[in-house]
Structures are given as C-alpha cells and as structure tokens.
C-alpha cells in the first residue's frame, strides 16, 4: 500500500478502536450499579467485547504506523483532540434507559459497519470485523430487547426510554459520516461507503421503536465533530480518569 493509504488505514483503525475503547470505558463505569445481577454480567460482557476489539484494532494500527506506536500509547497517552470516536459513545450513563438507548442506536450502526468490514480486502481487518460482528449481533439483540421491554413496560419506563432515545438522537447522523480520507481505501475495497447503510439503520431502528410503542424523534439538530476530534465536554473527564495512572507515572510499566 502507498504511504497515503497506510495513513488512511491507521486513521480508520483508530476511529473504530476509539469508539470501542470509550464505550467499553462507559460500560465499565456502570458495573455493580445495574438493576439486577444478570445485567451487571451482561454489561461487563459488553465492556469486555468492546475493549477486546479496541485492542485488536490499536495493535494493527501500531504495526502499520511503526515507531513507538502501541496499544497503550494510543489508548492512554493521546489527548482529547486526538480521539476520533463518535460523540454518542462518550455520552454519560444518565440512567439505565440512556445506557440501553446508546447501546442500541450505536450497536445497530456497528453491526452494519462490521458486516461491511468483514468483506474488506484487508484480511486482517476482515478477520477482526468478522469476530466483532458476532459480538455486535448479540449486543444489538440484548439492547433491543430492553428498548422494547422498557418502551412497552410501565408508564414510567416508557417515558424514560423515550427521553433517552430523544436525547441520544442528535448523535446518530454522525455515525454515517464518511471522512474524506477514506476515499483511497474505498477504491481498494479495504473499507466501504458507510452512508449506504443509513437506510438499513433507519429500518432496524424504526422497527424496534414501533414494537416498543416509542416515537421516532424529529430533532433537526444533529451534532458532529467526533471524527475530527471535536468532542462534547464529557470526553475530557472520561480520559482524565482513564489515563490517570499512565499520566501520573510516565515511563512506568504496568
């Protein structure tokens, strides 16, 4: 591959790795606070899956980038402006409905993404995506079940689930943005046009909302910036906590 294509691939890998790291961190925060023990297990399981995928992607990025690039360096020593995760994954665990809404809306996107990337001409990326696809399928099934149960549960759970969907909605269009740098990789079949998947996302989300007796939000405002490292205020705090040990004791091994 050309240097340009290599640089683009590193960006793509970091983008998806960052999504998984930050969502894994958010889910990790919540363990021991779930409504029942079975949910603590499920949340921990999701956190583990996301962190596992992130590690594979960072590892691959580090190999291509060479030099002193590493999994720990990418995850623990980059700044807020260098993280290119989507804004939705950094949103806080406001309540269980928000956790479910975030996992569901993002999960449906991620499942479509991994479906695409499992056909990548880059075998290593295709392999990572194929494994991640199995996990994402489970995450979506699990989150969807809760969207439906909460939406069609009690008046309180319905109101909370609708609020959570409404609040997360403005972070969903960003998931289907395609950064310009990807074009070189689209040509070679390493990655694919994600904008084409939007209709499938809409259909899957609408289907769940309908079953859940929830209303699809009509919020004209859609936030953007995550893929360029322009985040909500939440990410800085998340990273301050996540990176604290590595930042406090530079050079130490753990």
């Amino acid at each position: 591959m050309t240097d340009g294509a290599n640089a683009a691939l590193v960006e793509v890998l970091l983008r998806h790795a960052d999504d998984n790291t930050i969502l894994g961190q958010r889910l990790g925060e919540y363990i021991s606070s779930a409504p029942e023990l079975e949910e603590d297990l499920a949340i921990a399981n999701g956190a583990l899956d996301h962190i596992g995928v992130a590690m594979h992607l960072y590892e691959y990025a580090a190999e291509i980038a060479g030099g002193d690039a590493s999994v720990d360096g990418y995850s623990m020593r980059r700044n807020e402006r260098e993280f290119t995760n989507a804004l939705i994954v950094e949103q806080p665990n406001t309540d269980f409905a928000h956790i479910v809404a975030r996992s569901f809306l993002f999960g449906v996107y991620q499942k479509l993404l991994w479906e695409q990337l499992s056909r990548s001409s880059d075998e290593r990326l295709a392999g990572i995506a194929a494994r991640a696809l199995k996990e994402a399928t489970y995450h979506v099934t699990h989150a969807r079940r809760w969207v439906v149960r909460l939406g069609d549960g009690t008046p309180e759970s319905h109101a909370r689930m609708q609020t959570a969907i409404d609040e997360m909605w403005r972070f969903t269009s960003e998931l289907f943005e395609q950064p310009d740098i990807d074009s070189v990789l689209i040509e070679s079949g390493v990655v694919f046009d994600i904008t084409r998947e939007r209709a499938k996302w809409d259909a899957a989300v609408d289907d769940a909302l309908e079953e859940a007796t929830l209303v699809r939000p009509e919020d004209p405002y859609q936030a953007t910036g995550g893929r360029l490292g322009r985040h909500t205020e939440h990410l800085g705090h998340l990273l301050a906590e996540m990176q604290w040990l590595q930042r406090t004791y530079p050079g130490a091994s753990w």
Binding site: T21, G24, Q25, G28, E29, I31, S32, S33, A34, P35, E36, L37, E38, E39, D40, L41, A44, N45, A47, L48, I51, G52, A54, M55, Y58, V71, D72, S75, M76, D95, F96, V148, R149, L150, D152, G153, T154, E156, S157, R160, E241, M242, W244, L245, Q246, Y249, G251, A252, S253, W254
Partner: protein, 313 residues
C-alpha cells in the same frame, strides 16, 4: 427418640456422602447453610465494588479487560451461590433484603477501601488467596449444591489469584514509586486478610457444629496457619515485608508463626464500623432502588405479553 429421617441424615454425613436438596435435613443444618451460602453470595457481590473502583482507572486496556473479567466472574459466582441457597427454600429477593437491611453479613475484607492500583493486585494475591484456602475445603462440604458450586468457583479463583500476583510482579520490578505502592498495599491488607478466617476456634460459635455436619472440614485457626505458610514465601519472592514484627519461621513445627490479630478491629468491622461498611451497603441499596423501575417494567411487559400470547392461543 431419633427419627428415621435423622438416622438417614446422620448416616449420609458419616459416610461422607452428599445431602441433596430433596433430602430431609434438620432445620438447624438448613438454616446454617442458608446463612453461610448467602453470606458467601453477598461477599461475591459486595466484592465487586472495591475492585470495580479501579475498572475506570486500570493502567492499560489489557489490565482493564482482565479486571472486568474478574468482576464479572464475581457477579457469576454470586448468581451460582444465590441459586445454591434457593435450593434450600429461600428466594433471592429475600436474601437481598437481608443484605440491605444488615441482617446478613458479608466478608469484612470488602469493608476496606482500595486506594491504589497495587490494591487490585494485593486483593488477587492475598484476598483471593485466602478465599481459595477456604473454598478448597468447602469443595468437600456435605451439601451437594454448595460443594459443586465451590468446585467451579475455585477454578476461577485460582486464575484471579494468579492475575493479582502478576500485577504485583510487574510493580515489584518497576520504579521506586511502584514498589512503594506495592508495600503500602501489603501493609494495609495483610491483617485484614488474616482476619478473613474468622475468630479463634475457641471464640467461634459455629465452627464445632459446622464441622460435625461436615459443612466445614477444617477449623479457622488451622486454615489461617495453612494460608500463612503458603503466602509468606510468595511475599519474600516479591521482595516485600509483612507488617508483623512477630512473624518468624519455627523450625521445630515447620510453620510460620505470626503475631496476634487486632480482634477489636475485627469485631468493629464485623459489627458495622469499618472504613467502608456504610458505603458498600448504601451503594448496593442505591443500585437496587434505582433499578426498581426497570424490574417493574420487565415484569409489566412480561405480564402484557403473556396475556397476548394467551389470547392468540
């Protein structure tokens, strides 16, 4: 007069066979098991908090993943153990209520705070190490479901202890600050770990009866000695010191002899006045109360759905 049931029960115990859920058992045996298994389940669940305290700050993604897997195992152990307790005719909701109201205890070790990353390693090494000594014995417990839960739990616990020790080996080979972090954690956790085996045999109200029933197969003091003998050499290998001036190897007996535990501290923590007792229970209650609307929704949905299914049929 001894009933026929009692005779069968006594013979089963004497023959080292297992008592199963449908077998007759004396009420006192049943109640002792419910208390002990529930306490064990509660300990797993409360134990998720001190370790969960470091999930967000684990120093690398690999360490984070290992720690999450460990906390997840604890949730799983809690579930098996609650299920084992349920075979004795008590519900999980009742047991949770006993925990929340303070009528049930959990292992006091989790009432100490985790103040540095080294604490996560030390919990794996010292706390899980102590739990393993206890649980290996419990694999031979006379109540079948409990003994079988222990077999599975022991396998996972030995992985936990190894990962704890691996964290500590890394710190021991690290910078001066990391070695200080390690020593400080050992200084804070050593005595509470020894307390995990409970009061001296002479002070233990339950030991004798539990040993007769073969729920416990070794006494508190014997288990504690076994633990000290296996742990001290591991500490030496790490290059740490133990916070006990009386600790020494006794050539004659072949045992490591140690100083007297601060029993005032032990009883204070057991009865609720430890550094984190109130926070641990408050966190658990808060999670439970915050989740009430979720559980209600799940029930409401299930009821609606069942009604619809019935109509269709």
């Amino acid at each position: 007069m001894v009933s026929e049931h009692q005779t069968t029960f006594d013979e089963t115990i004497a023959a080292d066979e297992k008592i199963e859920p449908r077998d007759w058992m004396p009420d006192a045996y049943r109640n002792t098991l419910i208390r002990q298994i529930a306490q064990h389940a509660h300990s797993e669940v409360i134990g998720m908090q001190p370790e969960g305290n470091w999930i967000t700050r684990a120093p690398t993604l690999l360490r984070k993943a290992i720690l999450i897997a460990k906390v997840q195992d604890e949730a799983g152990h809690g579930l098996y153990l609650y299920s084992a307790a349920e075979t004795l005719g008590v519900s999980r909701d009742e047991l949770q209520e006993m925990l929340h109201s303070g009528r049930h205890k959990y292992s006091s070790i989790f009432n100490y705070p985790t103040l540095s990353w080294a604490d996560i390693g030390v919990i794996g090494w010292l706390v899980d190490g102590a739990a393993i000594v206890n649980q290996i014995m419990l694999q031979g417990a006379s109540y079948g479901p409990y003994a079988r839960a222990m077999v599975r739990i022991c396998k996972e616990e030995s992985f936990h202890a190894r990962q704890g020790y691996a964290i500590l080996m890394t710190l021991a080979k690290g910078t001066d600050e990391q070695r200080q972090m390690l020593q400080d954690a050992v200084d804070r956790w050593w005595w509470p770990a020894l307390m995990m085996f409970g009061p001296h045999d002479s002070e233990s109200t339950h030991t004798e009866q539990s040993m007769d029933w073969k729920i416990k197969r070794m006494s508190n003091d014997d288990l504690r000695q076994l633990y000290v003998d296996q742990t001290v050499p591991q500490g030496e290998y790490l290059g740490i010191t133990f916070p006990d001036p009386d600790l020494h190897f006794d050539e004659e007996s072949g045992h490591w002899r140690f100083g007297e535990i601060d029993w005032d501290e032990f009883w204070a923590v057991v009865t609720g006045d430890g550094p984190m007792n109130r926070e641990r229970v408050a966190h658990k209650k808060k999670a439970w109360e915050d989740g009430a609307w979720v559980r209600e929704a799940a029930t409401a949905y299930a009821v609606k759905h069942a009604a619809e299914t019935a109509k269709v049929a």
